[in-house]
């Protein structure tokens, strides 16, 4: 299991520290798109149907960059899931 970080509206689906646990072993290499599909599956299992659209509109990122859906990512603690933004 690993924990990814949720931001913005996704925080309502996370624990009090903003983390969301996923059933993936640390070190596994997936595409960012695969990680989003796992998130979608977990949202369906946990009853977050209303927020599924947020996952489809989100991107996976690390501290350095946003990952495109086809890009490989080594699953690790602290990967971020960024829903649509609205600063200012």
């Amino acid at each position: 299991m690993i924990k990814v970080r949720f931001f913005g509206a996704l925080r309502r689906c996370a624990d009090s520290d903003g983390f969301f646990e996923l059933p993936v072993d640390p070190g596994t290499i997936l595409s960012a798109g695969d990680l989003k599909r796992i998130l979608t599956s977990e949202f369906e299992k946990r009853g977050f149907q209303m927020d599924l659209v947020l996952i489809s509109d989100s991107v996976i990122a690390d501290d350095e960059s946003i990952l495109q859906d086809h890009e490989p990512v080594q699953v690790r603690e602290g990967l971020a899931v960024l829903p649509p933004v609205c600063g200012g």
């Binding site: 931001f7 925080r11 495109q68 933004v85 600063g87």
Partner: protein
């Protein structure tokens, strides 16, 4: 001053501290005759609902990188030397308080206006920052935003 060789001075600050909207410091180059500032403040009413405060969330490391890139590209697009300061609040910001402040210094006013506008518009669409409105009746709502799905690794 030889503006052609100017290296942009870009300062970015994200944090919970109140924004200090200040004049350019005296050590900044005097070749910049234009200073354009934008201050975004929390409205008391949004879409008919009475707002008490806005809570800002940010993915700080990537937001800092995004704002740096936006500032650099805005100056490049304008074909102008310049300096840019961007401050953005995180956490709770009360009605009337400044949530974002942008200051652009360039040699002439046209570039200053254009760069300032570009920075605030791109900030709203590209920086990983989110806001949740807290209403006076106690309800809250995360505001809809702009997906970063079109952004790539180099964004």
């Amino acid at each position: 001053m030889k503006v052609e060789s100017h290296t942009p001075r870009i300062e970015i600050h994200l944090g919970p501290e109140p924004i200090v909207e200040s004049a350019p410091s005296c050590d900044q180059e005097t070749g910049f005759g234009a200073s354009c500032e934008f201050s975004g403040r929390v409205r008391a009413v949004n879409f008919g609902r009475a707002v008490e405060s806005v809570h800002y969330d940010a993915f700080i490391p990537l937001a800092r990188k995004a704002l740096q890139k936006i500032a650099e590209e805005a100056l490049k697009e304008a074909g102008s030397p310049g300096s840019i300061r961007i401050q953005h609040r995180t956490g709770a910001v009360g009605v009337g308080e400044s949530s974002v402040w942008i200051q652009v210094l360039t040699p002439h006013r046209d570039e200053a206006f254009r760069v300032c506008r570009t920075v605030i518009e791109r900030l709203k669409h590209e920086a990983p920052i989110w806001k949740k409105e807290v209403y006076t009746d106690g309800e809250t709502e995360w505001l809809k935003g702009h997906s970063l799905c079109a952004a790539g690794r180099n964004s």
